[in-house]
Symmetry: C2
Subunit: 337 residues, 2 copies
Amino acid sequence: MRKKVTLKQLAKELNLSISTVSKSLKNDSEISEKTINRVHELANFYNYKPNALAVSLKSNKTNTIGVLLPEILNHFYAKVLYGIEQEASKNGYKIVTCITNESYEKEVEYVEMLNYSSVDGFILALSKETQMLNKLDHFKDLKRDNVPLIMFDRVSNEVDCDKVIVDDKDASKTAVRHLIKTGCKKIAVISTIFDLSVGKLRLEGAREEVSANRGVSLVELPINNIETEEKEIESFLKNNEIDAVLGLDETAAAIAINMSHKLGYKIPEKISVIGFTDGLLAKHSYPKLTIISQHAEDLGAKAARILLERLSNTSENSYKTKTEIVKTSLILRDSTI
Amino acid sequence: MRKKVTLKQLAKELNLSISTVSKSLKNDSEISEKTINRVHELANFYNYKPNALAVSLKSNKTNTIGVLLPEILNHFYAKVLYGIEQEASKNGYKIVTCITNESYEKEVEYVEMLNYSSVDGFILALSKETQMLNKLDHFKDLKRDNVPLIMFDRVSNEVDCDKVIVDDKDASKTAVRHLIKTGCKKIAVISTIFDLSVGKLRLEGAREEVSANRGVSLVELPINNIETEEKEIESFLKNNEIDAVLGLDETAAAIAINMSHKLGYKIPEKISVIGFTDGLLAKHSYPKLTIISQHAEDLGAKAARILLERLSNTSENSYKTKTEIVKTSLILRDSTI
DNA sequence: CTGAAAGCGCTTACAG
DNA sequence: CTGAAAGCGCTTACAG
């Protein structure tokens, strides 16, 4: 069982009251300088730290932000987390992170758990399963308890809260436009995330851009089963005379590159490839992948800033929620012409 | 500011005392069935949840484990985290994770912060900077406060605590033995982690195994600057007549494969490649990388189990610490013969 | 300048 | 069977 020095013990040893010790540690002007010094000295000696549980119980705030991520082996979320962490710690907030692993049940469980642990607010992206089932009741508790919530990336229209999203549709358009500009005529879109809000938007963008250009066509390869993704992409590349691939998630484009190697197709000479998310796979593919960067770190920082703002306005019990859109960038590397 | 129903409010509305309500919620046999039912009904209606801060303050335990990771964009640590999480949540424990980003200062800060937040125990791998500076004073606080600590993977001999490590030296030996068995004569070892305990052990293993085999030689490529890693590996491959590469961290082997593509070297025909860590890069390289798996998930679960055991033995204030070793496996894929 | 008292939301030994 | 009281470790308005 953990042991810690308390105000009580310091008070006893100094022959002072608990109140005086408490005030001294805050350098309260009420207290004589001499007493303040005595108290600090002993506190330092014992390495006294106030008990955070007691402080939080009293103040009704924990200075903690709960963060829920669908997945962590994903550079986008990992970087968002980093952005949140930076901004939060700059402002004296801690973060507690839970990974839902794309499970609705886990998401519900973690929201309850963190709410029960009295985090001051939430930042989260919905799990895949939650988006598919479209069950959002677990967020009503937060509303009822008056706990602010910021959703990012994977959001739901049915929850009224602040949101930070990426301009996914525009991003796809920009990518496709680049492919067309460099001479591609038959563009494949590979997606494992057609169930997600972001996947839908990205696909829509590609469709719109293609249909706005005469003589260019789109072939869609939706992948249901991650297990067979490689094989599906390989046979797709073999059986379709395409000259470009747009991968809508982090891995699809990388796999397209690998399968092209296998089939002996040159990149970018025969096939141009663009992916989403500036992650490890993109950096360590050969040739290096041209990608859409979602500026994950900025996005995280932005979400944190909005939350901190909500937390500082303790007065307003209800407020008008807002949605901010983060602009993406197309980063040209070696997998496109 | 968050609002929550409390025992007090329930008591008032039910015309009962706080004690009776509290006991009823726990189905205490002292209380009449009728009262218990009344209380539960209202509690359900209001969705009452006890305030975790108050419970923890009273019980002096938070059911929370603090986890410190050097890096998260690293499959090994991400999977260890997953293993810890599984085991912890199975036993009603939550985890709070902090990423040190290989910084000594951050590590000190987080240890203090989590200790101050009253986590029940710690599981951590040291940051690179901490291992280089070899400053370990921040763990004395934990000892003084009687908070159990489990170190894994990157550990220090100078801290007396439970440890879970990987048989890194044997792992390298096994890898090199396989290379030799398949006919490799001149083996390169590429390392960006020669400062780390694990990096040293892996290198040692490779050296020992090579010197035990006549006619086989080792070439070492230590890389100081991650920025120029690719170029260094490329020119190394060009200027050395090697027939095998052992990459001691997650990325080195992947880069070796990419640079081989660039130089037109066939894998595994001309060069065999083995890497450490069964991560995304290994899975999505072409050809698929033969790797040493450290069984990260098991390792995490094991660390959690040891900690939970320590936490359940509240009686013992001092105990004999132990070190457990997790066996690695060589997983043969397509980058070796 | 210092301290006693109330209170944050719980739990539990004790009294009735 | 129910409740008053003490206490976990703090903060702060109030009294002296």
